[in-house]
Amino acid sequence: MNSASRRLRLFFLAPAWVVTVLFFLVPMGIVGYYSILTRGPYGGQALPLTAESYSRFVDPLYGEILLRSFWIAGETTLLSLVLGFPLAWFLARSGPRRGLYLQLVMLPFWTSMLIRIYAWVFLLRETGPINAALVAVGLIAQPLPLLYNHAAVLLGLVSISLPLAVLPMYSTLERLDYSLVEAAADLGARPWETIWRVVLPVSAPGLRAAAFLTFIPSLGTFLVSDLLGGGSTILIGNLVQNQFTTARDWPFGAAASLVLMAIVLGGLLVSLRRDEDLL
């Protein structure tokens, strides 16, 4: 590379470096520092350095929040994979219109997440259309408490994660050599045997990517559990938000953020192979 193109490269990369260092790395560094400070008497944070904020996750109260987040993210991942796989299969095998069908799956993903969650709030609340319809038909006498519970949060998470699960599964299934499936059938495999022993092993990379893309955002969600859980389902994201706003315990909130980040980075390392990159 000659000096002109080296200078040009510097000029091209510098702005992006400034943005990522100033507005991503430095803030994360500050959070890391705050997480080992002591909470001041009036909020705020001060010396001395301590690991106390981290040790609070041993407390059953906060340990439970961590476990609950893992549990619901796991449920979301499982449901999204199980519900998404047949759809991905359908898309991959639906001929020349599959591009359009795929776009139809991805469109909700790109439109407002806030509004999609609000739509579920609207549907599920006691005076909402579902309850109104059930009462009108005479199936129930009193409106059901559909909102503000674990199931409502799970429903919201699955509806948001599903397109993200379908996309990578679709792209591996699209490249799947269908003659393998036919060969298995010709050799006498039952349909479920073909799926279990031929299709699933071949589409493993897609499944892994789908699991990562659904598990990580679900684990770190704030908005879904906030609006659909309404305080009944506190997850790590809500804990972080609460410590930085109402509780004003920044060191603890910072520690919770870093625990969350550690899990996310762990997941990233596990699910990306050495030769794969996100960018």
Partner: protein, 254 residues
């Protein structure tokens, strides 16, 4: 036989994805404020469009999205070009990590940064802090889209320009950038919609003068039944839908 079951299943999944939004939209045209259909009316649209707070928030949102899209697109396009010429593991890794960082963590880390900025430089929260936050989280989307476009592009023209004595800058400016045009526009549209839609980070770094549309929608949704929220939501989804379709159209046109 099996095929038709699968198609039926697909229809059910599409219903699961679209019905909530559809029901929301239907009830935005209900003349009653309760969930009992009492006739078609544009009353809630009228109320939404006369709401001062809502109009101001929409203005703020558009201004923020415009400014942050412009900055993120310029910075991101330059970076994508440089990364395509010669990969930089560190920048790619940092951007990837920022992509998977939960929004709430990004949000509180920026709160911490801006608090430090206030303590030492007396910089208060406001539109500018929101714009900076948005540039930061939109950047990776721009880099991703532009990089993907660069990787599928035909580069013989740029090589020809360099062989004929163009400087690297001239080759970029006169040859590659014009060819990259649709990719850059689709990246910008993606950044624009991402910025318009963000609630979690924005609500944390916004000042008193910088309330955005999602913040108003969130507050109204929390307060309870108000069909005006349905009306605004329907308008937002339609607006975003058009932008997304436009962006995908541009992306598929190679």
């Amino acid at each position: 036989m099996k095929k038709s079951w699968l198609a039926l299943y697909a229809v059910a999944v599409y219903a699961f994805l679209y019905l909530p939004l559809l029901v929301l939209a239907v009830f935005s045209f209900n003349s009653s404020r309760f969930t009992q259909w009492e006739g078609f009316s544009l009353h809630w649209y009228g109320q939404a469009l006369r709401d001062e707070q809502l109009l101001e928030a929409t203005g703020n949102s558009l201004l923020i999205a415009l400014a942050s899209t412009l900055l993120a697109t310029v910075v991101g396009t330059l970076a994508a070009y440089a990364l395509w010429k010669k990969p930089s593991r560190w920048l790619s890794a940092t951007l990837s990590v920022s992509l998977v960082t939960p929004e709430i963590v990004t949000g509180i880390s920026l709160v911490a940064l801006f608090q430090v900025a206030f303590r030492f430089f007396r910089i208060p929260l406001g539109m500018h802090t929101v714009v900076l936050a948005h540039v930061s989280f939109c950047l990776v989307f721009v880099v991703m889209v532009v990089l993907a476009r660069l990787r599928t592009m035909d580069h013989s023209l740029e090589e020809a320009a360099l062989d004929l004595g163009a400087t690297p800058w001239q080759a970029f400016r006169e040859v590659t950038l014009p060819l990259l045009g649709p990719g850059v526009v689709s990246a910008a549209l993606l950044a624009f919609t991402t910025s318009l839609d963000d609630y979690v980070i924005t609500s944390l770094v916004a000042g008193v003068d910088s309330e955005t549309l999602p913040m108003v929608v969130y507050a109204m949704a929390r307060r309870g039944v108000n069909p005006a929220v349905n009306a605004i939501s329907t308008l937002i989804v339609l607006g975003l839908g058009v932008l997304i379709l436009l962006s995908q159209k541009l992306e598929s046109r190679t």
